[in-house]
């Protein structure tokens, strides 16, 4: 593999990693901080892609980003509303919204399951013409993705230091404490999920625009992929202050994409991506548990041997 190919691969991994890092940061807020496993992530990712594509096709590539995030916020609000005000189990609320979004996403795409953005202006084509002639020529995807990720990381670092941010963390960290405090958990869950889903939708919107197409499956398995990235990041930078951990989440997304890109080079078929991410999530969650149990398992074996 020549250096050029290697550089190209790294750039692709970096681009895709950074775009999906936005979803990973969304889960960092909802899963790590708020302790809510938001299973509407897949549908919300597609929603962002579909809404973003629709608005871009209407000739407003920048507005597309705002509208996608707005759509994500609404989706997050509904998921949060169902679990805080309608007595629906948190996991179930996510699944229900995810199912409903399938129809909505196709409706947004005008009844079709695929939208083509080939001839449309996107943030990336706009950026491309801006960067032409500079040293960054041809790096427009990277450029936009870095800006988006940096903004989200900075936002989260600042937001999670405010009192509402701390209240969101406390809601996930010690529900008992929150119950008898002046924090209203309904509010923290709603705010947390609205913000998280805005980022998920942004992630979907940017992926669709960079690929110049949306299909209804663009978000399928995204929650598992993002969770895998989040857990990988957590093993490197899971401790410490919020900015460190948020950067860890971004790093996790990049590592995940890099491993995947390399695996593709070794002729792993593309359809294996989701199995790989599923296995990574299993290892990342079950690993520490089994490590915990290991002394006891060994003791049981020793015990049995002594008996025999």
């Amino acid at each position: 593999m020549s250096l050029n190919v290697a550089l190209n691969l790294t750039q692709t991994a970096l681009e895709l990693g950074l775009i999906s890092a936005l979803t990973v940061l969304a889960l960092f807020l909802s899963y790590t901080m708020l302790n809510v496993c938001d299973l509407s992530t897949d549908g919300c990712f597609t929603l962002g892609a579909a809404v973003g594509a629709y608005v871009a096709l209407a000739g407003h590539p920048y507005l597309a980003i705002v509208m996608a995030m707005l759509a994500g916020t609404v989706s997050g609000f509904i998921t949060a509303f169902l679990q805080t005000k309608m007595g629906i189990e948190s996991l179930l609320a996510g699944i229900i919204v995810n199912t409903g979004l399938y129809s909505i996403n196709i409706a947004v795409m005008g009844g079709s399951s695929i939208l083509n953005l080939n001839a449309t202006d996107t943030v990336f084509t706009k950026m491309k013409s801006l960067l032409d002639g500079t040293v960054f020529a041809g790096k427009e995807v990277l450029f936009v993705a870095i800006i988006a990720v940096a903004l989200v990381v900075i936002f989260l670092s600042l937001f999670l230091r405010t009192r509402i941010g701390l209240a969101i963390r406390a809601t996930g960290n010690n529900p008992d404490m929150v119950k008898s405090s002046s924090i209203n958990p309904v509010r923290t869950i709603i705010i947390g999920l609205c913000i998280a889903n805005a980022f998920t939708a942004l992630s979907g919107c940017l992926l669709a625009q960079s690929q110049k197409s949306v299909n209804i499956d663009i978000g399928t398995g995204m929650v598992t992929i993002a969770l895998a990235s989040l857990l990988i990041g957590g093993t490197f930078m899971g401790k410490g202050k919020i900015p460190t951990r948020a950067i860890g989440a971004v790093l996790g997304a990049f590592i995940f994409r890099l491993v995947y890109t390399i695996a593709l080079r070794f002729d792993m078929p593309a359809y294996m991506l989701k199995l790989v991410s599923a296995i990574i999530v299993i290892i990342a969650i079950a690993g520490p548990y089994i490590k915990d149990q290991m002394p006891m398992i060994k003791r049981r074996f020793g015990h049995r041997r002594e008996e025999a």
């Binding site: 600042l158 405010t162 209240a167 963390r169 406390a170 010690n174 119950k179 008898s180 405090s181 209203n184």
Partner: protein
């Protein structure tokens, strides 16, 4: 300050397990009162606290707090003027967040979108150093690393830094070892006196029930069966109190529990 008018609460109503936990209980608390509450297990002491704090709504009666009828006010809104500590030190703070973050959340000034202010941080440090536990040098450490006693002292600090109108202490030293319990009681005494807080404290320790505060009430079967203050209280001994309990309740008591608890 607090006026409770004939509140009742029945758990599992209409079933075989129906239990009348509060039975037309009335209580008036004056500004600056420090009332100790005793009573056997199941007497309704914690249920009374839950009713005041709003963990559930009472079936009947009214609760008036600081001049406002809070009978149907949700718990988180009442919590703005009520500070509360439980027996379990783990219930009062977030283990994954630092001491500083816990304090900013519970006692920080400013709106929900404000961050930590320098003035607040200085205030927290000073308050923590008064605990004499070395916590002021561990502001950045997660609360999960603290011992039960340290955590309970911190919770007390969190609940009282912005003085609440009413402080509810539900056996808040019962899970601590005797030495630490004594220290936390000492801290409690100082904070309540210094900030002139209105406070209700449940205890199974007859000694602190008489020693602390200006009034003692005894509960049984969801009601107040004895209420003593002033001179009569200052003459009271632990034996008198136990005798009182037997006499008023008119039935045999689990004296071991009430003595040793």
């Amino acid at each position: 300050m607090l006026k409770i008018q004939e509140i009742s609460k029945t758990f599992n109503p209409g079933t075989n397990n129906a239990k009348k936990a509060l039975d037309k209980l009335s209580l008036g608390v004056l500004d600056g009162d420090f009332i100790t509450i005793i009573g056997a297990n199941g007497a309704g002491k914690s249920t009374l606290f839950n009713a005041i704090a709003g963990s559930f709504y009472t079936d009947e009666g009214r609760i008036i707090l600081d001049g406002k009828d809070v009978t149907l006010t949700p718990e988180y809104k009442r919590a703005r003027i009520i500070g509360r500590l439980f027996q379990d030190p783990m219930l009062g703070s977030a283990p994954g967040m630092s001491i500083e973050e816990n304090l900013i959340l519970s006692a920080g000034h400013g709106g929900w979108l404000s961050g930590p202010s320098k003035k607040d941080l200085v205030r927290f440090r000073e308050a923590l150093s008064l605990l004499d536990m070395g916590l002021e040098d561990r502001m950045q450490q997660p609360v999960g690393l603290l011992s039960g006693g340290q955590r309970q002292a911190l919770t007390l600090m969190m609940a009282t830094l912005n003085p609440p109108k009413l402080l509810l202490l539900d056996e808040h030293t019962a899970a601590l070892d005797p030495g630490t319990a004594e220290k936390v009681i000492e801290i409690t005494k100082n904070i309540v006196a210094e900030k002139n807080l209105t406070c209700l404290m449940i205890t199974h320790n007859m000694e602190s029930a008489l020693e602390l505060g200006n009034r003692t009430i005894m509960m049984d079967q969801g009601n107040i069966i004895y209420d003593v203050r002033g001179e009569e209280r200052s003459k009271l001994t632990m034996d008198d109190l136990l005798e009182k309990f037997k006499e008023q309740a008119g039935r045999k008591l689990d004296t071991d529990r009430i003595l040793l608890g």
